[in-house]
């Protein structure tokens, strides 16, 4: 049957989990839809958007959406947060759910690459740019972690001392 038995779902648990991951506003959402009306995810037809994700969690869904990549398409534009009449901060709910997905490694390969780059180079978006830079009259390396070993070590220390380290991404 294509029916959800809501009483059998543990709504409290799902809500507590999302709050622990940074989505405390979820309890205030009244499902008015203002966020979804301006959300790029909704406009382009992703299976999830801020409002829908919130509803799923409010009704006790948790594991079901773990493989859904929609949350990873959120551009963090925060337009939802600006228009929400209940101070839910819907983008924070998207990110909170992402954290659950991330810590379960339900992420794409491109996302994995970014974490590796962040650790190895200090830059999540990395490409060899020496030629381009010199072409416009700049030194081959920018004055960032790319040309400062001590600084890179600092970034690595912060990453090594974080829950991210346990995921074996870098």
């Amino acid at each position: 049957m294509n029916v959800i038995n809501v009483t059998s779902k543990n709504r409290q648990e799902a809500i507590e989990k999302i709050i622990a991951l940074g989505g405390e506003g979820i309890v205030r959402c009244i499902q008015c839809g203002a966020c979804a009306s301006v959300c790029p995810l909704a406009r382009t037809g992703f299976t999830l958007n801020c409002k829908k994700l919130i509803r799923l969690i409010q009704t006790g869904h948790w594991e079901e959406m773990i493989e859904d990549p929609s949350t990873w398409a959120c551009v963090a534009c925060n337009r939802c947060t600006e228009v929400c009449p209940r101070d839910v901060k819907p983008s924070e709910i998207i990110f909170a759910y992402r954290r659950f997905q991330a810590m379960e490694l339900a992420i794409s390969t491109s996302a994995t690459m970014s974490q590796m780059n962040l650790y190895m180079k200090g830059h999540a978006v990395f490409s060899e740019a020496a030629q381009l830079r010199q072409k416009v009259g700049l030194p081959p390396l920018p004055p960032t972690t790319l040309s400062d070993e001590k600084a890179l070590k600092e970034v690595q220390t912060l990453l090594e001392n974080s829950p991210m380290a346990e995921l074996g991404l870098f």
């Binding site: 205030r28 009244i30 499902q31 008015c32 839809g33 203002a34 966020c35 979804a36 009306s37 301006v38 959300c39 909704a42 406009r43 409002k51 829908k52 337009r79 939802c80 600006e82 228009v83 009449p85 209940r86 101070d87």
Partner: protein, 471 residues
């Protein structure tokens, strides 16, 4: 209102402000300032000749800023009493006719040169030579009970930045009401303010500023019904206008209300559940409402010619001052607080002061009428009986112990305490009809001269003992 104005037992004071209230139930003294109208109301017949001659243009408050009025104006055609006033801050004193100055004499005709308003008045009600006081006149009234019914205002559209408030075709529902009125700026024709053309598509947005943590968390209660009313009237008059109504929820809990709503659906008005998050301004000046249909779980767009925002009801800014004058308290949303939400809905913490209408909370006309009749009846009871029942748990001063320090006088939130002469000395005296038994004075009195009946030290100690003893 006309009936009120002609009733011999009712004195109507319009264009007036309450300045000060003192005394207590049965014996209130109220100072009322009758504002200076600058027009002699004994003579003014409300013909409106003066208003047509005034060269000044000020946004017309009564038409929600959609058109202009002069500096001399009659607030609206059905005003009671129908009398003109001069808005002195905007009056430019034509012909140098400041009030209290003599007119110049025309060399040509030898007659005085008058301002257009005084020249226009056939009744001679405007005489700018008179040195009228800008302060108006203060009346002192003695009244037994008071009903507060100061009403509400609606939020302006400028708060709602996501809804293109800079655009003239985004209007508040109150402005639409004026556009629909036969006495409004368009004579009852629905025209877009930007180009005075009839709109083909109208979008309504509900809960604008109501149910919103940024503005007001309460529901304004009347918007759903008046929007449906406006939509139905427009649809009946102009069946070709398409109407879309964006709702968070449709709330129609009243006798025959839901039937009114469902009939609107049958009449072809489209209801969309979901709060729009924005409006895009299209190059031709039309407005694209960025909506969301919660039932379809899909973003939707409506290209509208006119967008109507049902902005929240709220209290007027000066409600706090009035509350102070009356010693009334306000609730978390800023409305006057009733004594008990269920059992004392028209009474207040001040004996003899009653509430009616939206100053106590948003409500529609039937509810307001019911509450007003309740308040009127409740206010009449003490007047008819000539006496009131008071609570036994109130405070009393023992004048023998009181040192007359006066510490308690300013502390009392109900202004019940004053210093009176007692055996040749000043002693505190609590007016028992005003005392609410809060106990602030009893706790503060350094001489322990005040007892709060029912809560004497002995009684409280006995209670503590009973609660803490083992059995």
């Amino acid at each position: 209102m006309v009936q009120v104005s002609t009733n011999p037992n009712i004195q109507l004071l319009t264009y007036s402000e309450v300045e000060e209230v003192s005394g207590f139930v049965g014996n209130f003294q109220v100072k009322v300032r009758k504002k200076q109208a600058w027009v002699d109301w004994e003579k003014c017949t409300g013909c409106g000749e003066c208003t047509e001659k005034c060269p000044v243009k000020v946004p017309n408050e009564f038409n929600a800023g959609l058109d202009h009025r002069g500096a001399v104006y009659i607030q609206f055609p059905q005003a009671v009493p129908k009398k003109a006033v001069i808005d002195i801050n905007n009056c430019i004193n034509c012909a140098g006719r400041k009030f209290g100055t003599e007119p110049r004499i025309s060399k040509r005709t030898g007659k005085p040169i008058l301002a257009p308003c005084e020249r226009a008045c056939p009744a001679g009600a405007i005489n700018r030579s008179l040195p009228l006081s800008p302060e108006g006149e203060v009346l002192e009234l003695k009244v037994g009970t008071i009903i507060v019914a100061t009403g509400f205002k609606v939020m302006e559209k400028d708060w709602f930045k996501e809804y293109a408030p800079q655009h003239p075709d985004v209007i508040t529902a109150l402005q639409l009401e004026r556009l629909m009125s036969a006495t409004g700026p368009t004579g009852g024709k629905i025209l877009r303010p930007s180009n005075q053309k009839k709109p083909k598509v109208i979008s309504f947005i509900s809960c604008v500023g109501s149910r919103d943590a940024k503005y007001h968390t309460y529901c304004s209660r009347v918007c759903c019904m008046y929007m449906i009313k406006q939509a139905r009237i427009i649809k009946e008059k102009y069946p070709d206008i398409e109407i879309y109504m964006h709702f968070m929820d449709v709330r129609t809990p009243g006798k025959d209300y839901d039937e009114y709503y469902t009939a609107a659906i049958e009449k072809g008005i489209t209801f969309l559940r979901g709060k729009p998050g924005g409006i895009e301004v299209l190059p031709d000046g039309r407005l694209r409402v960025m909506g969301y249909d919660a039932n379809l779980d899909k973003d939707i767009e409506v290209d509208a010619d006119l967008v109507v925002l049902a902005t929240a009801m709220e209290v007027p800014e000066d409600i706090k001052q009035l509350a102070q004058k009356l010693s009334l308290s306000l609730d978390a949303s800023g409305f006057f607080k009733e004594l008990h939400p269920k059992l004392k809905p028209v009474e207040t913490a001040v004996e003899g002061v009653f509430l009616a209408g939206c100053c106590q909370g948003p409500k529609d006309i039937p509810d307001t009428v019911s509450q007003a009749k309740g308040a009127a009846a409740a206010a009449a009871v003490p007047l008819a009986q000539g006496k009131v029942t008071i609570e036994p748990t109130i405070s009393e001063v023992d004048p023998q112990r009181c040192s007359g320090c006066g510490l308690c006088v300013p502390l009392c939130p109900y202004h019940a305490i004053s210093l009176r002469e007692y055996q040749g000395k000043l002693r505190a005296k609590i007016e028992f009809t005003q005392c609410k038994g809060c106990g602030v004075c009893a706790a503060a009195c350094p001489s322990k001269a005040i007892i709060l009946h029912g809560f004497t030290d002995e009684q409280i100690e006995a209670q503590v003992e009973a609660l803490t003893s083992c059995w």
